[in-house]
């Protein structure tokens, strides 16, 4: 790949010092990501989804229009480079509102507006809300759910895995037995049981449930990392110097086993989004009117498989692209962080 090579040359020209500077560390990683096509592509997709998610978070006008049932604004109307609506309805104000062009009472459910117009590029859903807006908003839900629950799993797993690996013995035994038990229940099952029986179906309990369900995976990885780091000389030195255990774990052990965790976390974000989409699809994740892809697919699958097949297509494509971005980036990161792989 010509672009990649020229960039590589740029890196090596910057001096022999960089070359000598170990084949680990951030600068090296960034350089590897730059030259790896997969990682670069993944980075673009991830940045794009993150940007969309952030944007939808900030633009509260759009947000209120989508989350509340207010639906008579088209996407073209609320996009900033078109005109903002002059009157932003309060939440709840729109609940009595029926879109003027889609009188449910008179018209049968079919056919749903098919889309393809500037007003509704992807048509509207069954209540007349712009489908494109809702698909775009789904990014926010999916991405943040993925990030937050992966973070919960990662931090919980890091603590448990690090403690178990560092102390070993009885502590290790007990912690790992618990972790194994949780691991033995299929995550989706555990999450549904947790969500419904503890909290009642809601996206926040789902996020927490997913996070907890993935603690075992992270705990196992970090434990094995810690076990290998623990025997290193500098840990021995720190211990000899009288550094407290907690500080050794937090300052030395965890940072040194973090690289593989980062890769795994990135890949795990994809898995999390997949699981939460499934959860919402079953009706235990995001609740209407939240525009969540899984939940949109649920509605489309139940009611509109025959009348408007596109309602079942768009959210799925959105899920696929988002997860693919994280997977690509994770794969690239893995190659970049692993000095053994030479392609």
């Amino acid at each position: 790949m010509a672009v990649g090579e020229s960039q590589l040359d740029g890196e090596t020209e910057s001096g022999a010092e960089d070359e000598v500077e170990a084949r680990v560390g951030w600068r090296y990683t960034v350089a590897r990501i730059k030259q790896d096509t997969t990682a670069r592509l993944g980075l673009y997709v991830v940045s794009f989804t993150l940007f969309v998610a952030m944007y939808t978070l900030i633009d509260s006008n759009l947000s209120r229009l989508t989350f509340g049932q207010v639906s008579n604004y088209t996407f073209a109307q609320v996009l900033p480079f078109f005109d903002h609506p002059t009157h932003i309805p309060d939440p709840g104000e729109g609940t009595q509102h029926m879109p003027p062009y889609f009188p449910l009472a008179e018209q049968s459910w079919n056919p749903l507006p098919a889309g393809g117009t500037l007003e509704h590029p992807l048509g509207t859903d069954h209540t007349g809300r712009d489908y494109f807006t809702r698909v775009v908003y789904g990014t926010q839900v999916s991405v943040f759910v993925g990030l937050i629950s992966t973070f919960i799993g990662l931090s919980g797993g890091t603590v448990i895995g690090a403690v178990a690996g560092y102390y070993g013995g009885k502590v290790d035994d007990i912690l790992m037995r618990i972790v194994e038990t949780v691991y033995a229940i299929p995550p989706l099952i555990l999450i549904i049981v947790f969500t419904v029986f503890i909290g009642g179906a809601s996206i926040w309990y789902a996020v927490l449930g997913v996070g907890i369900a993935f603690i075992p995976i992270f705990a196992r990885i970090i434990r094995s990392q810690v076990l290998s780091v623990r025997e290193m000389d500098y840990i021995e030195a720190a211990r000899a110097a009288g550094v407290r255990d907690r500080n050794i774990i937090m300052r030395h052990v965890v940072p040194n086993s973090f690289a593989p965790m980062l890769v795994y976390a990135t890949l795990q974000i994809g898995v999390t989004i997949l699981i939460v989409a499934g959860l919402s699809f079953l009706g235990y994740g995001a609740q209407p009117p939240t525009p969540d892809w899984g939940q949109m697919l649920n509605i489309a699958h139940r009611n509109y498989m025959h009348s408007n097949i596109w309602l079942s297509i768009w959210p799925g494509i959105a899920i696929m692209i988002t997860i693919m971005g994280f997977n690509l980036f994770g794969d690239g990161l893995q190659d970049a962080l692993d000095p053994q792989i030479d392609d």
């Binding site: 549904i192 697919l297 097949i309």
Partner: protein, 333 residues
């Protein structure tokens, strides 16, 4: 008889895990805010005496640990309690429903293995050629797409548009539904059940296929660079024989591990795929139990799915030990 010893050892080792699963499900089911008595009396008039009577009958007035021990006692005898919603023993319900789920999961794995291994080998053999890139992209799409959406798209294409295959239900050859009882001959019945199985199988198997293919590719690449392959080449063994015998066999070991580890994803996926295709399996039973707040049934199904997963992992571990002569049967642990 080392293998038998190892199998026994692994089974014994799984007992604490199974007890752990029962504790977790029991706690989740009983510590939740949902009150089983009011659920049972849904729609009925509640009076003090009736509530007492129900509590007495189901032992709900006893402390938690006593209830757990009672539950465990029943569990050892194969009694998982009475379903509140169906008003039937949970064990019966599970035995009725476990067949379709096993059929679905096993056929999905069969589909995944049959497609993924050849594709992975081809990709590794033609590394960095177009066919390799194509299969890598396919694998990436496979791991990034939710199984239920694959199911929906398959239904849209093959059932709604082309009308080739049925969009829902599953016909099990061992217990045909009444509409198919009239069909003469086993062949027709098997054909019908295959037609029904095809779409859910692909929907559930795609993720497994993609995962296995990726692992197969990396393993084959690694294996093809091994010393033994170099040696075989030096001896002038034909490239095809090297690929088939020397490189291939070594590369299959991690596949066994992946199959076991992914079993929990597959079981979770089966729940969703069963919903999409309206299959009356364990997944549907689980979803029912959740929707009806039937905590007794929920505990039973969760236990059962956990047991299936643990057993699956043990089976893969044992087959791993059987295939790989280097495995020390875990005695040193």
């Amino acid at each position: 008889m080392k293998l038998l010893k190892y199998a026994t050892y692994r089974l014994l080792q799984s007992i604490p895990v199974l007890i752990g699963i029962s504790i977790i499900t029991f706690l989740l089911a009983n510590l939740g805010p949902g009150d089983p008595v009011s659920l049972m009396l849904q729609g009925q008039e509640q009076n003090e005496a009736l509530v007492r009577a129900i509590e007495q009958r189901y032992g709900l007035n006893k402390p938690l640990h006593e209830r757990y021990l009672t539950y465990m006692g029943g569990l050892l005898e194969g009694d998982l309690g009475q379903s509140i919603h169906y008003r039937r023993p949970v064990t019966d319900l599970i035995l009725e429903r476990v067949g379709p789920t096993l059929l679905l999961v096993l056929s999905a794995y069969a589909f995944a293995l049959v497609t993924a291994i050849p594709l992975g080998v081809i990709a590794a053999n033609k590394r960095n050629e177009p066919s390799d890139h194509a299969s890598r992209v396919a694998a990436l799409i496979g791991v990034s797409t939710p199984s239920f959406w694959i199911g929906i798209v398959l239904i849209l294409i093959f059932a709604v548009k082309l009308e080739w295959l049925p969009s829902s239900g599953l016909i099990y050859p061992w217990r045909p539904p009444s509409t198919y009882r009239s069909i003469d001959g086993h062949l027709e019945l098997y054909y019908q059940s295959l037609r029904h199985l095809l779409l859910p199988m692909i929907a559930l198997g795609t993720l497994q296929m993609a995962t296995i293919m990726r692992v197969e590719r990396t393993q084959m690449i690694e294996s093809l660079q091994g010393e033994y392959v170099k040696l075989a080449r030096a001896y002038g063994v034909p490239e095809r024989t090297i690929l088939r015998k020397h490189a291939f066999q070594v590369a299959q070991l991690p596949i066994v591990t992946i199959v076991g580890a992914n079993l929990s994803t597959a079981i979770g996926g089966a729940v969703i795929v069963e919903t999409v295709f309206n299959i009356n399996g364990m997944g549907q039973l689980f979803v029912d139990s959740i929707q009806q707040n039937d905590y007794q049934l929920m505990m039973g199904v969760t236990m059962m799915l956990g047991v299936l997963f643990v057993l699956g992992v043990i089976v893969t571990d044992i087959s791993y030990a059987y295939i790989d002569p280097r495995v020390t049967y875990g005695e040193s642990e």
